[in-house]
């Protein structure tokens, strides 16, 4: 009854209009019992971070296919830290070249899930990451 649900924001920054991937992930997280706040398309980094704060999200998943991933991920992480919310888990997916992934992880992205990743992998990873984050809070 007093269980603490996992709340996740799933967002699409920038100008690309392909949200199928984001919807697939949102649906999988929903079916895993999470509350998924879906922002819709064409969000700025500022809007995404503000949404995360207003919704008290444990995590934010970013889907990018436009090539601007390094910019958006770094910007979002920077803004979260600025707002004293550096503990929020950031993960993502989309079309992100293999060679860019180490840099993103270095910048604080928790995980990057490329095309074809089974949604169960994403769900399991997120459940574990949120459990670890909450354990640290106590």
């Amino acid at each position: 009854m007093d269980e603490r649900k996992i709340r996740v924001v799933v967002a699409k920054p920038g100008l690309d209009g392909h949200d199928r991937g984001a919807k697939v992930v949102a649906r999988a997280l929903r079916d895993a019992g999470m509350e998924v706040v879906y922002t819709g398309l064409r969000q700025t980094a500022e809007q995404i971070v503000e949404t995360v704060l207003q919704e008290d999200a444990d995590a934010v998943g970013i889907s990018i296919l436009s090539g601007a991933h390094t910019f958006y991920f770094t910007k979002i992480i920077e803004l979260l830290k600025e707002k004293d919310a550096g503990d929020v888990i950031v993960f993502g997916g989309g079309v992100i070249p293999e060679k860019d992934i180490p840099g993103l992880l270095e910048a604080g992205v928790g995980a990057v899930f490329g095309p074809g990743t089974p949604t169960s992998v994403c769900v399991e990873w997120l459940e574990k990451a949120v459990a670890e984050k909450r354990a640290k809070e106590q």
Partner: protein, 324 residues
Amino acid sequence: MDILINKALAGDTRAIARIISLIENEDPVADGILRRIYHLTGKAMVIGITGSPGAGKSTLTDKLIEFFRKKGKSVGIIAVDPSSPFSGGAILADRIRMQRHTGDEGVYIRSMGTRGSLGGLSRGTREAVLLLDACGKDVIIIETVGVGQSEVDIIKIADTVCVVLVPGMGDDIQIMKAGIMEIADVFAINKADKPGVDRVAAEVRLMLELVRDKPWTPPVHLTVAENGAGVEEFAESIIKHHEFVKNSPEGERFEFRRLSFEVEDILLKNLTRKAEKVWQAHKSKELMEDLAARKINPYTVSADILRKLFPRTEDNQGTKEANT
């Protein structure tokens, strides 16, 4: 906890958001927080927006936010979407239509899943509204889950209930039915650029004319939320109703009714919580087997649990009966 409350009252978004999570998770500290802030509530104008799925509630809410922002009012929004009965998860997507206000410091939007609540709201909606009220939001808009005919809990919380209808929902008998159609203080017939809107409007007005002796007759507005047509007049009616509620003897009756619901709901919530605890402790494998074998019946079991919950009351009743 004091730090969190003070931050929230000072308008810190994350603190407000965190307390709403405590509320919806039914964290034991939430009741204490509400007790502490309750005296600061009662200032906000609380508006409920309800109607069937896809009627345009979110888009209309978006336009109302714009309207009140132009008047310099701060606005809080609670947008409720359904939780899955299977996984308990939810897709909360009402804010897609309001996203242009994200980043405006005078607007706070919070999405909530129903989490098993059946009246069109979520567990914790009322408490979230109290918090936003205490934190100084001038206007609070509650967007219910897309409702059918009988999800009317919104009347327990909102000062003004707006029912959003769309053309093509059925014949005039649908409009005469009890439930959602009778809770409206203001009607919006949205998507008024679609065919059939005149008929719906006529039928709603006719339905309202059947009862003439009420002190407030709900105005009926045609709106196209998508482009904002009719929204201003609709919003003015909401303000007018709010003034009516605050300044008439009828209004006091509304307020008393709302407060009575409030006490009743809190009481029932606490009782349910206690009863569940006692039942869980009372439950055993043997008892379940006896129930399944029909050796004992659920009525007797619940009477036993009630006696555990209220030992003294039962005693008193016993003496009373003995005396008479």
